[in-house]
């Protein structure tokens, strides 16, 4: 069983909904990213999504776009991100999920890329611009290396697509809660509940909901609707980027606690 599946199994045994914070690697610098991973790990994160900064993040809203731009301007390189993860991952309980666009993967070559991830101790991979039809080349070699490639379901996905994606997705299924890009939104769309029910009918795999979850009440809401995980991105990235690194780390520590508290049974 994969690291991510084990993680969800243990959470489900305790009737817990997972909290998955997202941060952008290299914003403001990789040292702060490493510290952020440590504090999130200690403050209630069950898994952590780590975004690899990319020049053209077309699934991301302004907050994560800006973080990626800052990270790239500081010269953040994939090599250095993975080196940092390799150093820190053995000390973390929370499995690391790498979030990256497809071009950096094929630029390196799918197998070499996956081998580097595995070596760095990364447990999962989310590629927002790689839909089911194009994912085949990635899914098989990833499972050989024990890395889960998690596919996304959107509010616009047909029921046939939902069923196929659910079958192929590894570790969990990532339900995009809005038609839109990542970002902070004031409320959750009620159709998320319907989508969760629809997904539940076709899969036993854990379901994580993300894009637009930015408050403890949102997290609580998706938990009550039956989600197995809440992914919170822009709201963490924004807090970490505000003020000095120390202030940012303090802010995400508190925020992480408040989200986890909201998710407790």
């Amino acid at each position: 069983m994969s690291v991510i599946s084990q993680c969800f199994e243990s959470l489900q045994a305790r009737s817990q909904c997972a909290l998955i914070p997202f941060i952008t690697a290299g914003d403001p610098d990789l040292e702060t990213t490493a510290q952020a991973l440590r504090v999130l790990n200690k403050s209630g994160a069950d898994l952590i999504e780590l975004g690899v900064p990319y020049s053209d993040p077309l699934a991301d809203g302004p907050v994560i776009q800006a973080a990626a731009t800052r990270a790239l301007q500081r010269g953040t390189r994939l090599e250095a991100v993975l080196e940092m993860v390799q150093g820190i991952s053995p000390t973390l309980q929370s499995p690391i999920i790498c979030f990256t666009y497809y071009n950096p993967i094929i630029n390196r070559g799918i197998k070499p890329f996956l081998q580097q991830l595995a070596q760095a101790g990364v447990a999962g991979l989310v590629v927002p611009d790689l839909p089911l039809e194009e994912a085949t080349d990635l899914l098989l070699p990833a499972s050989d290396l024990g890395i889960d490639v998690t596919l996304l379901v959107a509010p616009t996905s047909s029921s046939e697509r939902i069923a196929t994606i659910a079958r192929q997705s590894q570790g969990f299924i990532y339900l995009v809660s809005v038609t839109g890009v990542t970002g902070i939104r004031s409320g959750l769309e009620a159709r998320v509940q319907v989508l969760l029910q629809q997904l539940r009918q076709v899969t036993d795999k854990p379901i994580g909901v993300g894009f637009g979850i930015s408050q403890p009440e949102h997290a609580r809401q998706v938990k009550d609707w039956g989600a197995d995980a809440a992914v919170v991105g822009s709201a963490f990235v924004k807090r970490l980027a505000d003020g000095t690194p120390q202030q940012g780390l303090q802010a995400i520590t508190e925020f992480c606690h408040s989200l986890k508290t909201a998710l407790l049974p």
């Binding site: 077309l58 699934a59 071009n103 950096p104 630029n107 390196r108 611009d129 194009e134 596919l151 038609t179």
Partner: protein, 413 residues
């Protein structure tokens, strides 16, 4: 003059792209899941209406009465004389006058056809990206014509160098949204248009302006621009009873080139030449010569050649012409390059500016700076040619929009 036969493994024109949207290894649909149903819906609508008599009739009527087609195939006598040999031989140069279309470029062929599709799909809101502003103007135009809400994404840098087109779009009721991300050019405007589409996909049709982007766009835009090559074939037949020998067009994303080439891809005697922007030179960091300098990658939904760094980060392109300032290229061009059916070369900003002046002086035709790249390549090509081959250049747009930019270069303050 040699022509390269298609390799045995190449797909025939009729099968390109395949059902997954592939031109060989290029193309595909690398987009967020949210857009996948919309792409399928668009493809289904296109397959339904492309042969529908009512759709075709409406389109043909508008192309004739509103756009002003067919555009002339014009014999450029003084340009031809420039490249004549002492013995009287030399290439015969013709211009396919897409600059005479309503709105001044080939872009309206596609914008008009897509808006007719969008109406049949029940979409009331239209978005588009634009670089030089020609596609934005064409889209704003057809939206005004049909009373549809229209939002155009344009890089801040391009808005500055193409301010005339910004004014035209706004005059026709379009909202022009500035994009400041990245270098504020076409790449960033396209990303922002895709983000809008992801967000408003249920009510909005995205009129992509080039043969780029996810399937089915490269196919749809090519087919809607193919009228350029179809008319050219008929006009060549009428003028000299045969095929052209060489087709020449500029390539940014590549829609005017694909529009001219498509009809002739299966005619092995016709040489296809695409010209990219070399900016300040392909050996500098400031160019947009994707096919000559790029490596295979994924940008804006398609696998194609791409200007990228060692880490797979997309590199900002550079060209004096906003319409060629794009680090990607349409996937079918990558395919035609790989199977050696088409040839791709590049010319610098300086060469293009000289050609801009030359065509103005010799023919009384002020070309778009994009088009000037194709014109510029005559300087290299013509001395290599023997006999009297007939060259058709796609005169893809007119240059009114560029006079301020060119004035700055020709008379620096």
């Amino acid at each position: 003059m040699t022509t390269t036969p298609l390799s045995p493994n190449s797909q025939s024109t009729a099968q390109r792209p395949d059902t997954l949207g592939r031109f060989g290894r290029f193309g595909g649909k690398y987009v967020p899941e949210t857009l996948m149903p919309a792409l399928s819906e668009l493809e289904a609508a296109y397959q339904q209406y492309r042969h529908d008599p009512a759709f075709q009739q409406e389109l043909q009527q508008l192309l004739q009465d509103y756009v002003g087609r067919a555009t002339p195939l014009y014999f450029a006598e003084r340009l031809t004389a420039r490249y004549a040999q002492p013995d009287g031989t030399g290439p015969q140069i013709y211009l396919k006058r897409e600059d005479l279309n309503h709105t001044g470029a080939h872009k309206i062929n596609n914008a008009l056809a897509q808006v007719l599709l969008a109406r049949r799909m029940g979409k009331q809101r239209i978005i588009a990206e634009t670089g030089a502003g020609q596609h934005g103007v064409a889209t704003a135009t057809v939206c005004a014509r049909f009373g549809l809400a229209c939002v155009i994404y344009m890089g801040v840098h391009d808005m500055e160098r193409q301010s005339l087109n910004v004014f035209r779009m706004r005059l026709m009721g379009a909202e022009v949204r500035p994009v400041a991300a990245g270098t504020g050019t076409l790449k960033d405007a396209t990303s922002e248009a895709i983000r809008d589409w992801v967000t408003n996909v249920e009510t909005t049709h995205y009129i992509l302006g080039s043969v780029a982007g996810p399937h089915p766009y490269p196919m749809i835009v090519r087919d809607f621009q193919a009228v350029i090559g179809q008319e050219t074939r008929a006009q060549c037949q009428e003028k000299w009873g045969g095929l052209p020998d060489i087709l020449l067009a500029c390539v940014g994303g590549g829609s005017n080139a694909m529009g001219l080439f498509h009809e002739f891809v299966d005619e092995p005697s016709v040489r296809l030449i695409g010209i990219e922007a070399a900016g300040e030179g392909v050996d500098t960091e400031k160019h947009a010569a994707t096919l000559t300098q790029g490596r295979v990658g994924v940008l804006h939904g398609a696998m194609s050649y791409l200007l990228q760094d060692e880490d797979g980060q997309v590199i900002e392109a550079h060209s004096v012409s906003a319409g060629l300032d794009y680090p990607g290229v349409g996937p079918e061009h990558s395919y035609l390059k790989d199977v050696e059916r088409a040839e791709y070369y590049s010319v610098t900003d300086q060469q293009a500016l000289s050609a801009f002046k030359r065509l103005s002086e010799l023919e009384g035709i002020i070309p778009a700076l994009e088009t000037a790249h194709a014109i510029a390549y005559l300087e290299t090509l013509c001395p290599q040619l023997g006999g009297t081959p007939r060259i058709v250049i796609n005169c893809s747009g007119r240059g009114d929009k560029d006079v301020q930019t060119v004035a700055k270069f020709l008379n620096p303050a």
